[in-house]
C-alpha cells in the first residue's frame, strides 16, 4: 500500500530524502501531495512508483532512470528532463519543455504540452494526448514523438533522426524535416501506444515526419 508524504512547507532535500526512504522500505510505492513548490522532485530515481497528487513543480523526474512517476494534475516546466529509463505519466498538461534531452523511457501527457517539448530527444517515446506549442521536437536525434492534436510553429526543427507523428495540423515545419508516408509498421506502433495509454484516436489518420538529412549543418 502506498504511503503518503505531505510535502507542504518542506524543502527538496527533506522530501527527497523521505521519499527515497519510503520507496526503499514500502514496496516501492509512494504518494506525495502538496509538492507543487518543489522543483526537481523524484530526480535520478532508479525504481519505485510515485504518484504526485495535484500539480508538480519544474524538473519533475529529471534524470529518471527507472521509476514510474504519475502526476494527477499538471506538471511544471521540463517534466521528465534528461530521462534515461522509466515512465512519466501526466494526467493534465505540461508546461514548457517536457521530455527534453531524454535518452529513453516513456513520457505520456494526457493533456497539452508547451513549447520545445521533446527537444533533443535521443530515444524516448513521447506521447502528447492533445496539442503542443511551438518548436516541438527541435534537434531530435532518436525516438518517437506522437502528437495526437495540433502542433505550433517550426515543428521538428533540425530533426536528425527519429519519428514525429501528428494526428492534427501543424502551423509550420522547421528545417530538415519532411513528410513521409505512414507505413503499416507505423500504424501498428501507433495503435499500440494509443491503446496502452487509453488515448482515443485513429492511428491511420496520423501523418509522419522524418529528417531530410542526417548531416544538415556542415557538409
Amino acid at each position: 500500500m502506498s504511503r503518503v508524504l505531505d510535502a507542504k512547507g518542506k524543502d527538496l532535500r527533506v522530501v527527497s530524502t523521505q521519499l527515497k526512504e519510503m520507496i526503499a522500505a514500502d514496496g516501492k510505492e509512494a504518494t506525495v501531495k502538496n509538492a507543487s513548490h518543489l522543483h526537481g522532485l523524484c530526480a535520478g530515481l532508479k525504481g519505485g512508483e510515485i504518484t504526485i497528487e495535484g500539480d508538480s513543480g519544474d524538473y519533475l523526474g529529471v534524470l529518471n532512470d527507472g521509476a514510474l512517476i504519475r502526476v494527477a494534475g499538471n506538471a511544471g516546466r521540463y517534466a521528465a528532463d534528461n530521462m534515461t529509463h522509466g515512465t512519466v505519466l501526466v494526467d493534465g498538461d505540461t508546461d514548457y519543455g517536457a521530455a527534453q534531452y531524454c535518452y529513453g523511457g516513456i513520457v505520456v501527457v494526457k493533456g497539452s504540452a508547451g513549447d520545445f517539448t521533446a527537444t533533443m530527444n535521443k530515444g524516448a517515446t513521447v506521447i502528447i494526448g492533445q496539442d503542443v506549442g511551438d518548436e516541438v521536437g527541435t534537434y531530435m536525434l532518436a525516438g518517437d514523438l506522437v502528437i495526437v492534436g495540433n502542433a505550433g510553429r517550426n515543428l521538428g526543427n533540425y530533426l536528425i533522426r527519429g519519428n514525429i507523428y501528428v494526428g492534427g495540423q501543424w502551423a509550420s515545419l522547421g528545417h530538415n524535416v519532411k513528410e513521409e508516408t505512414l507505413t503499416k509498421a507505423d500504424v501498428d506502433k501507433l495503435q499500440g501506444y494509443l491503446a496502452k495509454y487509453a488515448i482515443k484516436a485513429d492511428p491511420r489518420a496520423f501523418r509522419k515526419l522524418a529528417p531530410l538529412s542526417a548531416k544538415p549543418f556542415y557538409k
Binding site: Y59, K122, Y218
Partner: protein, 514 residues
C-alpha cells in the same frame, strides 16, 4: 599599392616540371604580369627579379605541380596589415566555398596577457623570501569544504579543465585521468560523456571496483552537465566527484560545443547518442533553463541527485565577469571556472575564437571583486582558465585572486601536441584529437599520462619558487601586491600597480563601476 621587394619567391626544383625538363613548362613565366620569372634560350625558367613580386601568387595558383611558394619577406603586420595573406586566403575560401572557416585550438596573436605582468620578489620592504629548497609551501585547494559531505581536496591549485571525449581521443582522456591520479588534481569529462575507465583511473585504480591502486595519490573526476547533455544519465552524474554546469567557454562563448562529423565514430556516436558521422553541435544555451531561477533549480537538483555529497561547479566564458561570477555564486555553487578568450577548443568558427570574449587577465579582477562583494572570496573557489602556460602565469592568476588555474591547451601540448590548429579535422598525427585507430595507436595513455604528470610537477615547482620568493609559504597569501603591470594598458585593465609609478591607475584608486 603593392610593396616592392616584400616577398620571397621559392621554386621547389625537385617538383618543378621545368627544372626536370626545360622547355616543358613555363606557366609561371606566362601568368606573372610583373616579369618576376624569365625563360632563357634553353627553355630554363629562373626567378630574375625577386623585387618585382607583389605577392599576388598567381604563379603559385597556376603552377601544375604546386612547386611555388610566395611568403612575406618581413612581418606581414608591418608590410600588409590589415590585408595579410591569411586574411586574403580567408576571403578566397569564403568566395570559393560559401562557408566560413572552422578550426581548433585557441586565440592567436597579440592580446593583453600575463606577459605584461611581472612578479615582485621580496627584499627589505616585505616579508623575507622563503627557502624553496628547505621549507614547505602550502598548495592544497579544497572545494566544497563547508557545503559538501565529500569535498574535493586538490593537492595543487591546478585542474585539467573540460575537454570532451570526442574532441579528444580515448587515449588522451585516459592520459589526463592517469596524470590527475599521479598528481592529486582533477580531470574533467567535458560534455562528451564518460570513457568507462576514466573514473577509476582518476582515482588511481586500474579496476572498476577500485581495489587495485596503481597511481598515487589519486585524483578526482569532474563530470560536466552541458547544453548538449551528451552521454548524460544519473549514473554519469554520480560518477563524478563534482558536477560542472557549463555555461560557456573561452574559445566560443555564446556558442555550444562543436564536434564535427569526421570525429563522430561508432564509439563516439554510441556515447553521445547521435548518428555516426553527424555533427554533434551543442545548443548555445540550455533548452531547459529559461531564467536564472531555473539555473538555481538545476544546481539544487544536481545536489539532490548527488546526495548533497559533491561540489557543484559552474564554468563561464569571458563575457561580463563581475555580473556573471556574481550570479554563478548566487546560484549556490562551490566553484567557478572562468575561461578567458585564449581558452582552447576542438572546433569553432575562426572569427569567434579570434574575436569574441575578453582576455583572461581582464576576467580575473572583476570576478574576484564579485566574490569579495558577496563575502564568498576563497569560499567559492575561482579557477582561471584560458592561455595559462606555466607556473609564472599560474602565480600571476593566483596573486590576482584566483584559487586555482586550469591547463587545457598546455596539457594537450604536454601530451605531444604541436599546435597545428587542425584539431577539428580529426587527423591529429599525435593521436590526441583524432578518433582514427591508426593515429590513436600513436598515443600511449600511460606514457602521455607520465608526460602530463611531469608537466604538472614541474609547474608546481615553478609555483612554489615564485610564491616563496615573494615571501609566502602558502599560495593563499599571494596578493596583487606581489605583482606589477609593466605598461599602463595592463595596469588599467587589471588594477595592478604600474612599474615605476608604484601605484594603481587613478580610477582604480578612486573606485569604479563594475
Amino acid at each position: 599599392m603593392p610593396v616592392v621587394g616584400a616577398f620571397c619567391v621559392t621554386v621547389h626544383k625537385d617538383i618543378c616540371i621545368n627544372a626536370q625538363m626545360p622547355g616543358k613548362c613555363a606557366t609561371c613565366v606566362e601568368v606573372c604580369p610583373y616579369e618576376v620569372y624569365a625563360i632563357d634560350g634553353n627553355g630554363q625558367v629562373a626567378v630574375q627579379n625577386y623585387n618585382a613580386c607583389v605577392g599576388c601568387r598567381i604563379c603559385a595558383e597556376f603552377c601544375p605541380e604546386n612547386a611555388i611558394r610566395i611568403n612575406p619577406a618581413e612581418s606581414e603586420y608591418l608590410s600588409r596589415y590589415p590585408w595579410t595573406l591569411g586574411q586574403v586566403e580567408e576571403i578566397h575560401h569564403k568566395a570559393l566555398t560559401g562557408g566560413y572557416l572552422l578550426r581548433g585550438f585557441g586565440t592567436m596573436g597579440p592580446m593583453p596577457h600575463f606577459d605584461q605582468i611581472v612578479v615582485v620578489p621580496s627584499q627589505l620592504a616585505a616579508e623575507p623570501p622563503k627557502d624553496k629548497y628547505r621549507e614547505e609551501c602550502e598548495m592544497e585547494v579544497v572545494i566544497g569544504e563547508d557545503t559538501c559531505e565529500k569535498p574535493i581536496r586538490l593537492q595543487y591549485p591546478i585542474i585539467f579543465p573540460a575537454m570532451s571525449f570526442g574532441a579528444l581521443s580515448r587515449e588522451a582522456k585516459l592520459a589526463l585521468a592517469i596524470a590527475a591520479a599521479k598528481t592529486g588534481i582533477a580531470e574533467n569529462t567535458g560534455e562528451g560523456g564518460l570513457v568507462a575507465e576514466a573514473r577509476h583511473y582518476c582515482h588511481g585504480y586500474i579496476d572498476k571496483e577500485e581495489t587495485q591502486k596503481k597511481w598515487e595519490p589519486g585524483g578526482y573526476l569532474v563530470v560536466q552537465w552541458s547544453t548538449g547533455r551528451w552521454g548524460v544519465s544519473v549514473d554519469f552524474v554520480r560518477a563524478g566527484d563534482a558536477v560542472e554546469v557549463k555555461i560557456g567557454q573561452g574559445a566560443k562563448p555564446g556558442m555550444g560545443g562543436h564536434l564535427l562529423g569526421a570525429k563522430v565514430t561508432e564509439e563516439i556516436a554510441a556515447v553521445r547518442g547521435v548518428p555516426v558521422g553527424s555533427d554533434a553541435l551543442s545548443p548555445c544555451r540550455y533548452y531547459d533553463v529559461l531564467s536564472f531561477e531555473d539555473l538555481k533549480k538545476q544546481v539544487a537538483f544536481l545536489r539532490d541527485v548527488t546526495n548533497y555529497e559533491k561540489p557543484i561547479w559552474i564554468k563561464l566564458g569571458p563575457s561580463r565577469p563581475y555580473d556573471d561570477v556574481r550570479l554563478a555564486a548566487e546560484a549556490g555553487v562551490d566553484a567557478i571556472s572562468l575561461d578567458g578568450i585564449a581558452g582552447g577548443t576542438g572546433a569553432s568558427p575562426d572569427l569567434v575564437t579570434q574575436g569574441v570574449g575578453i582576455p583572461t587577465i581582464a576576467c580575473i579582477p572583476p570576478a574576484v571583486r564579485a566574490l569579495k562583494d558577496l563575502g564568498l572570496h576563497r569560499k567559492v573557489k575561482l579557477f582561471a582558465l584560458g592561455g595559462i602556460r606555466n607556473g609564472l602565469d599560474a602565480v600571476k592568476a593566483l596573486a590576482m585572486g584566483a584559487d586555482g588555474v586550469g591547463f587545457g591547451t598546455a596539457a594537450e601540448i604536454a601530451m605531444g601536441c604541436r599546435a597545428c590548429m587542425a584539431c577539428h579535422k580529426g587527423n591529429c598525427p599525435y593521436g590526441i584529437t583524432s578518433q582514427k585507430p591508426e593515429l590513436r595507436a600513436r598515443l600511449d595513455p600511460e606514457e602521455a599520462g607520465q608526460r602530463l604528470a611531469n608537466f604538472v610537477k614541474a609547474t608546481v615547482e615553478e609555483i612554489k619558487i615564485l610564491t616563496m620568493l615573494s615571501g609566502h609559504s602558502d599560495i593563499k597569501d599571494l596578493s596583487e601586491e606581489d605583482l606589477r603591470a609593466v605598461d599602463p594598458e595592463t595596469a588599467a585593465i587589471t588594477g595592478l600597480k604600474l612599474i615605476g609609478y608604484e601605484r594603481r591607475m587613478p580610477w582604480w584608486e578612486n573606485g569604479h563601476d563594475n
